[in-house]
Symmetry: C2
Subunit: 388 residues, 2 copies
Amino acid sequence: MELDFCFHNPTKIYFGKGAINNLKDELKKYGNTIMLAYGKGSIKKIGLYDELMKIFNEAGKKVVEFSGIMPNPTAAKVKEGIKLVRENNVDFILAVGGGSTMDCTKAVSMGAANDVEFWDYFYMNYNPPKNKIPFGTIVTMVGTGSEMNGGSVITNEDVKIKTGVVYPNMLPDFSILNPEYTYSLSKFQMVSGICDMMSHIMEQYFSKPDTDNVSDDLSEALMKNIIKNAYICIENPNDYNARGNIMWDATLALNTLIGCSKEGDWEVHNIEHQLSAYYDVAHGMGLAAISPSYYRHIIDFGLSKFKKFAINVFGVSTDNKTDKEIALEGINKLEKFFKNIGATTTLRELGITNKEELNEIAKTCFVSNSAYKVMSIDDIKAILQNAF
Amino acid sequence: MELDFCFHNPTKIYFGKGAINNLKDELKKYGNTIMLAYGKGSIKKIGLYDELMKIFNEAGKKVVEFSGIMPNPTAAKVKEGIKLVRENNVDFILAVGGGSTMDCTKAVSMGAANDVEFWDYFYMNYNPPKNKIPFGTIVTMVGTGSEMNGGSVITNEDVKIKTGVVYPNMLPDFSILNPEYTYSLSKFQMVSGICDMMSHIMEQYFSKPDTDNVSDDLSEALMKNIIKNAYICIENPNDYNARGNIMWDATLALNTLIGCSKEGDWEVHNIEHQLSAYYDVAHGMGLAAISPSYYRHIIDFGLSKFKKFAINVFGVSTDNKTDKEIALEGINKLEKFFKNIGATTTLRELGITNKEELNEIAKTCFVSNSAYKVMSIDDIKAILQNAF
């Protein structure tokens, strides 16, 4: 607990099979016009769309639909949402889906409520939003933790930049989490989400300071719970308890709790964002492919922590091994875990064929200034080549 | 994650050496008259009183003092505070101290802002408060977690009842936590606080349901962190990092996080509250004396959980032992931990000499309906006698 911190997370979480029953009362707090933001229609398949329309109807709300939000949501899509909000005087946005829908909704909330060009103002120049259109979320896909944080990641296709911002007042007013909504996710989506939440924890855990910190202990508990329940979820997609643990793990992984008194690294995310901007790879799969390569590259700069990780998270034995051998075994076990649950752990498996282009991408990556090792372009090139 | 839950905790936490620097901006949000609530003057000894007066002065605030709040704060003291608030039209209360000061402040906040007889209305009949006098806290004593929850425990001396309530809108608006403020605590106070936070975690951990739940994993992480850092704090009271971990552990132990999807037990607290009502023992020390006796008494009703506790928290080996032997060894190690840090682990050590009277006290204890074993009066008598 070396570093001072502020923890403030007022998002109200309704969790469980009956969580949706709280929606009607929550909606009473807002004006009459609601924008329903969602993706490509999976909410219709699981019956949630009809259920929501019934609730809106009973609550006497006017509904504006904002659909077709894509994975890696684009600046163009955000503009479409801002236009809809303004034309219809939307009072409240309900984002129903995964991280893409929630992140896009946050961008629309900021963009519509403030008289600025949203991309430059919020995403390039980091001006915090003064106003917001209030919004809540219903989570149908796990991983991003966007349901309980102020983060929003948007891809601008024109300039090939995918970037994330975090603003305290972009926390959802409330979020509804029912593990049953995730039953119909494809294995690919579920695995991608699991890799994403593991990465969120590691980005905070593998960072300075490394003096004893309960945040690190909580991170280890979350990682162990994820690993244990990931195998159950993959084996039996309808295991409510395992889905529930994974869903809550994902939220706690990125609601700022385990970041208390930690600097955070986020270099794996920086690199993945640029991969996604070039190739539109699934975010979690990109993270799974980059993480082992990145951590092997910086292992000497955080050796004691990588050793702790190996022992406490993956139960690596220490007999007759050097610290580095123990640490490396931990990273190998992480990679094996990703493989075992069906993640792609090389860039080639992600469909990337142009090894040369990776060197160009390396030049476009943001560099973290709080990592164990500050990256040069050559470092990033090596990490990407080793992940190929 | 079997049970549905709602998690909502909007208290803003400022943590660290510079945390107090945020007070002036926070106070701008409230009216002109501030009531400073504190105990028996330790805030003067550590220089905090003078620092606060300077901040109030600079902020142009009028200050009303409400001092002399005692351990196990009484209903009579609460009435004194309510009178002060009403006479002075207090806009905001700043509670500076430990759980007693914070809990008393909450009772005053409820009592002064609602036109009811506070004890009967809030503490006996559990009517949630409609209104509140806004309040914040500055924590100088660790253990209760009152800085980030809606709980308040008050003792009514007339009827010999010490009881706690929890109301969602009794969360502090903000809390300032600086581990340095705890340097001057006596060893007795510090140990008592450590026993209190351990008990808070165990009351939630040793409760149904026992299906895999990340809340239990987080509880184990917190307990291990407390045990590790408790020894350091006792050895070297000025170890900032250890004090910081313990301080944040205490907050997380009772801010509803680890209670997500858990029923909670709270029988140890129920029994201790009645001990305190009769003998005015230090809360944490009372808990340390009762816990091992209580857990041995119910061991067969939650055997798998007591075994898990022994292995995961205290590293008990499993070779050639029955589940019950493993479980018992865990409870023995818990008792030894309490002893090692200097807690009193028998009622006799607490100064209680009348063994017969314990049977009378047993009859006055509230009974938890969510414990592994629902208590009869005979159960409670046995637990108290075994703790003697």
